[in-house]
């Protein structure tokens, strides 16, 4: 990975309250930190965030990060309908959205959206709550923002001990979904942003 040449990757995780967006943001940020990168993570707060669309923004960079919010995302992970409605337009022109597959039916296809069966996969692991981790892994795969190793270490430090293995399985699944879906876009999406 060309982590040394790159400048910054702007990531947005979006979903609805209860989908683990905050935790996802923290995990991804910590993974970046473990990769020796700079990172700034910000989130949406408040009652609206508990129910409706909520988001976490990350800037990952190898230089000092000044402005910490994401206005146009290189990568957007989108887990729910309200999040789609609200944040789809915040993907950068050359950015990529990774969205829950159920949404395809309503939203339809478009060139910078990849739909993945995140929820179904989580249910296949026995718990819908893994949706965010699977999505995170897919995002990591597409973006190359963090290494899988760091992502695993970060997950380990942030989830309950008894769920670590299941979460690792969720990570694997996420990487696999990404590869299967559109392996041509893996990492290269990131790389394109980084060679400024």
């Amino acid at each position: 990975m060309a982590s040394v040449e790159r400048d910054q990757i702007r990531i947005r995780l979006a979903g609805k309250g209860g989908q683990g967006i905050m935790l996802g943001g923290a995990i991804l940020a910590e993974a970046a930190m473990l990769d020796g990168l700079r990172v700034a993570e910000t989130q949406e707060y408040g009652p609206e965030a508990r129910l409706g669309a909520t988001k976490a923004d990350l800037i990952i960079s190898n230089r000092q990060i000044a402005f910490p919010e994401v206005h146009k995302a290189d990568f957007l992970l989108c887990l729910s309908r309200p999040a789609y409605l609200r944040y789809a337009k915040t993907v950068a022109e050359d950015g990529l959205m990774i969205a829950e597959k159920i949404l395809r039916e309503e939203m339809g296809d478009s060139p910078n959206v990849v739909y993945l069966p995140l929820r179904a996969s989580a249910l296949s692991l026995g718990n819908e709550l893994y949706t965010n981790i699977i999505g995170l892994a897919a995002l990591a795969a597409f973006s190359g923002a963090v290494t899988k190793e760091s992502l695993e270490n970060s997950v380990r430090s942030r989830v309950k001990a008894e769920t670590v293995l299941a979460n690792f399985a969720a990570l694997d699944l996420g990487y696999k979904l990404a590869e299967e879906a559109d392996s041509s876009r893996l990492v290269s999406a990131a790389a394109s942003k980084l060679s400024r």
Partner: protein
């Protein structure tokens, strides 16, 4: 809001949009669901004596079999989100 009426014996479509109001009818009685207010809390599911309420793949409430509904209003009473309108057809005041 566009309303979808489902009469006794009719089958609901595979996927009902989130914005759609569903009105189930049974012999003059009706049960109306304003699905877009639903938050998937399942309080109604637990409360329904007929066990005919469930969440669909969009996590929104629907009725599995309106023929079993007794129009007791438990769902409406328990739902904190104004989803249900229950009309037993008996014209209570």
């Amino acid at each position: 809001m566009n309303t979808l009426t489902i009469k006794l014996g009719e089958k609901a479509p595979q996927r009902i949009g989130a914005e759609t109001v569903v009105r189930y009818e049974q012999n003059g009685a009706s049960l109306t669901l304003r699905r877009k207010y639903c938050k998937s809390c399942v309080l109604c599911v637990d409360a329904c004596p007929a066990k005919i309420l469930q969440l669909d793949q969009d996590d929104l409430i629907y009725v599995t079999d309106i023929s079993k509904c007794v129009f007791c209003g438990a769902c409406a009473g328990r739902c904190p989100d104004f989803v249900f309108i229950v009309d037993s057809g008996k014209g209570e005041k």
